[in-house]
């Protein structure tokens, strides 16, 4: 078998970047803990649901922006991914509203 050596240069760990990743993880876990506290302290209702949605979007923002690196991509790619999600938001609003008008037995 042909044996050819590949020259690999391993760069040292980027301490600042790794620290930032752990900070993001901390934020995600903290937000989840806050969600837990809200789940057991606030009464059920639209205000609670609204809070949950906001916190979920915060978590989604950190995952997509930092972990998936979208925040640092070219603007065209950033918007190409984000803009179509408007349809999802509208779909959610329309269908949940529609659901309240459906009679079930």
């Amino acid at each position: 078998m042909a044996h050819h050596e590949v020259q690999i240069t391993v760069a040292p760990p980027d301490k600042a970047k790794i620290a930032k990743l752990w900070r993001v993880a901390g934020i995600l876990l903290a937000v989840t803990v806050v969600e837990f506290i809200i789940a057991f302290t606030l009464p059920h209702g639209p205000a609670k649901t609204f809070l949950f949605v906001i916190l979920t979007i915060v978590k989604a923002g950190y995952i997509v922006g930092e972990f998936m690196h979208l925040r640092y991509e070219v603007k065209v790619l950033f918007w190409a991914v984000l803009v179509p999600m408007i349809f999802v938001v509208w779909m959610l609003v329309a269908f949940v509203y529609e659901g309240t008008k459906i009679v079930t037995y």
């Binding site: 760069a11 760990p13 989840t32 991509e73 779909m91 269908f95 079930t104």
Partner: protein, 256 residues
């Protein structure tokens, strides 16, 4: 950040060819667009859950007096209140919280693997990929337990239902859940549980397989020979997406 747009001659735009206007490789772009289509699929499932849930009667009354009935939609925290080895102890959403923690942590180890890949650090990629695989398998095991518990029922005697069968009212007990009926609420409740967490669980499963493939290819030195670890990044995008979906499932299925 790492993608500095290539110099474009005056009077020409990045869209005239020769450079990558989105500053990402073909594979990465296709992964993004696949994930968008996948996001629409999951949105379809979760929004249909919202539609059916809002069309079913909600439980009226104090949460402490809640009982299972097929006539109203259950409060999720009353359904998912069991933890392995703690039979009979009411710990609402604790196990789901643990599963969320596991998945977020495996996302962190994945992003650390991607970071190691940028530095061509094969040993670190192997280490973090292995942790990510462990995280994924742990999550799947948790889900297997949760499904088993959901299907068999909590063992509280089930829920009484009265059906009109062959001209007579018949009272019987439903215990556990299947696609046809369940003791927790309307039949659609269990259907959505199986479809939404099942579809997500299948994504986790395929994610673990892909992660293993990446791990294997790192170990055999494929990416060193190739000169870059971009595959780690692409599969990383998929794995983070699986975590992202769980964040939404956690909110819209378990919390709301």
């Amino acid at each position: 950040m790492s993608h500095t747009s290539a110099a474009v001659a005056p009077g020409k735009s990045v869209w005239d060819g020769g450079v990558s206007p989105m500053g990402a490789s073909y594979g990465k772009l296709m992964m993004w667009f696949f994930l968008m289509s996948d996001a629409f699929t999951f949105s379809g499932l979760l929004i249909t859950y919202g539609l059916v849930r809002s069309s079913n009667p909600a439980y009226e009354g104090a949460a402490s007096a809640f009982t299972f009935a097929t006539t109203h939609w259950p409060i999720p925290e009353k359904v998912f209140d069991a933890v392995p080895f703690l039979h009979g102890v009411e710990l609402p959403l604790v196990f789901v919280g643990l599963m969320t923690f596991i998945l977020i942590m495996s996302s962190v180890t994945m992003v650390l693997a991607v970071e190691a890949g940028h530095r061509m650090d094969r040993a670190a990629v192997e280490k973090w990929m292995l942790w990510t695989i462990v995280g994924g398998l742990t999550f799947l095991s948790c889900q297997a337990w949760e499904w088993t518990h959901f299907i068999l029922g909590p063992g509280n005697g089930g829920t009484q239902v009265t059906d009109f069968v062959n001209g007579a009212w018949i009272t019987r007990t439903i215990e556990g859940a299947n696609l046809h009926e369940n003791q927790y609420g309307p039949p659609a409740f269990a259907d959505f549980f199986f479809f939404i967490t099942g579809f997500h669980g299948f994504h986790v499963f395929s994610g673990v397989l892909l992660n293993f493939l990446i791990f294997y290819n790192s170990v055999t030195g494929l990416y060193d020979r190739r000169g870059h670890y971009e595959m780690v990044e692409k599969v990383g995008l998929y794995w983070h997406f699986v975590d992202l979906v769980w964040v939404f499932v956690f909110t819209f299925f378990y919390l709301v």
